[in-house]
Amino acid sequence: MLALDGFLDAHTAPQFEETIQSEISAGRRNLIIDCGKLTYISSAGLGVFMSFIEELREAGGDIKICSVAPKVLQVFEILGFQSLFDIVDTLPEAVAKFQEGGQKG
């Protein structure tokens, strides 16, 4: 599980990208991104989710996104991310999604 805190824009997205990359390199395929403390996201941040999801799904894993504040959620929704990613309200729901299995998109 990775927890985002603060804002995710073109300045901070590379750090998020490196973190996900290191999780994947460590062999982890099921990632939960907790957005509870995320105050802002731009397309640079969304791009990080987009660039890894195929690789993880091909390896049998997935990214589940949880606890997204309404202000941030509207950015996900503008581009239709809710139909491509599992976005749930709470961390336990994200865990349960992995237990149910299945991938979106």
Binding site: A10, H11, G47, M50, E55, K71, I78, G105
Partner: protein, 143 residues
């Protein structure tokens, strides 16, 4: 809401670390214009996307250049101009791929211009590469 035109000007070094400052600048003006929180977030997003594009693509992450933001607040609209002297591009050549396709190609970019168009009422470019590239975005204000 005042019935006279108000102008704001911001010059910032072309570094992504200034995107937060740019968002605050525009957000504060949007607040003066009477926008509500959800509208302010979308306004800040559009401007962030515009400036991130300038910094990354027009200037190729060269931090020694300058991004200029000219904001005009009128009775019925908020006009934002983002000006750079970078290499520019032909907006007609920008392909708008859907997100599913970008994901399949493992692409992380290509969404900025679409975001701006979805969020703002008008988005226009005037390009003079290396001299002056100007992006104008307009948001109509609710009365």
């Amino acid at each position: 809401m005042a019935d006279y035109e108000r102008r704001f000007l911001l010059h910032v070094p072309s570094s992504t670390e200034n995107l937060a400052l740019i968002r605050d600048f525009v957000g504060n003006i949007g607040r003066q214009a009477g926008m509500v929180e959800t509208e302010l977030s979308m306004l800040e997003l559009a401007v962030d996307e515009a400036c991130a594009n300038v910094i990354e693509h027009a200037y190729g992450l060269d931090k020694t250049q300058e991004v200029i933001m000219r904001v005009t607040l009128d009775v019925d609209c908020l006009k934002i101009q983002v000006i750079d002297t970078g290499k520019g591009f032909d907006p007609a050549q920008i392909e708008q791929k859907d997100v599913k396709k970008l994901i399949a190609e493992r692409r992380s970019g290509g969404l900025g211009l679409r975001m701006m168009k979805l969020v703002m009422d008008e988005v226009q470019y005037q390009m003079k590469p290396g001299e002056r590239n100007e992006l104008t975005m307009i948001k109509k204000l609710k009365k």
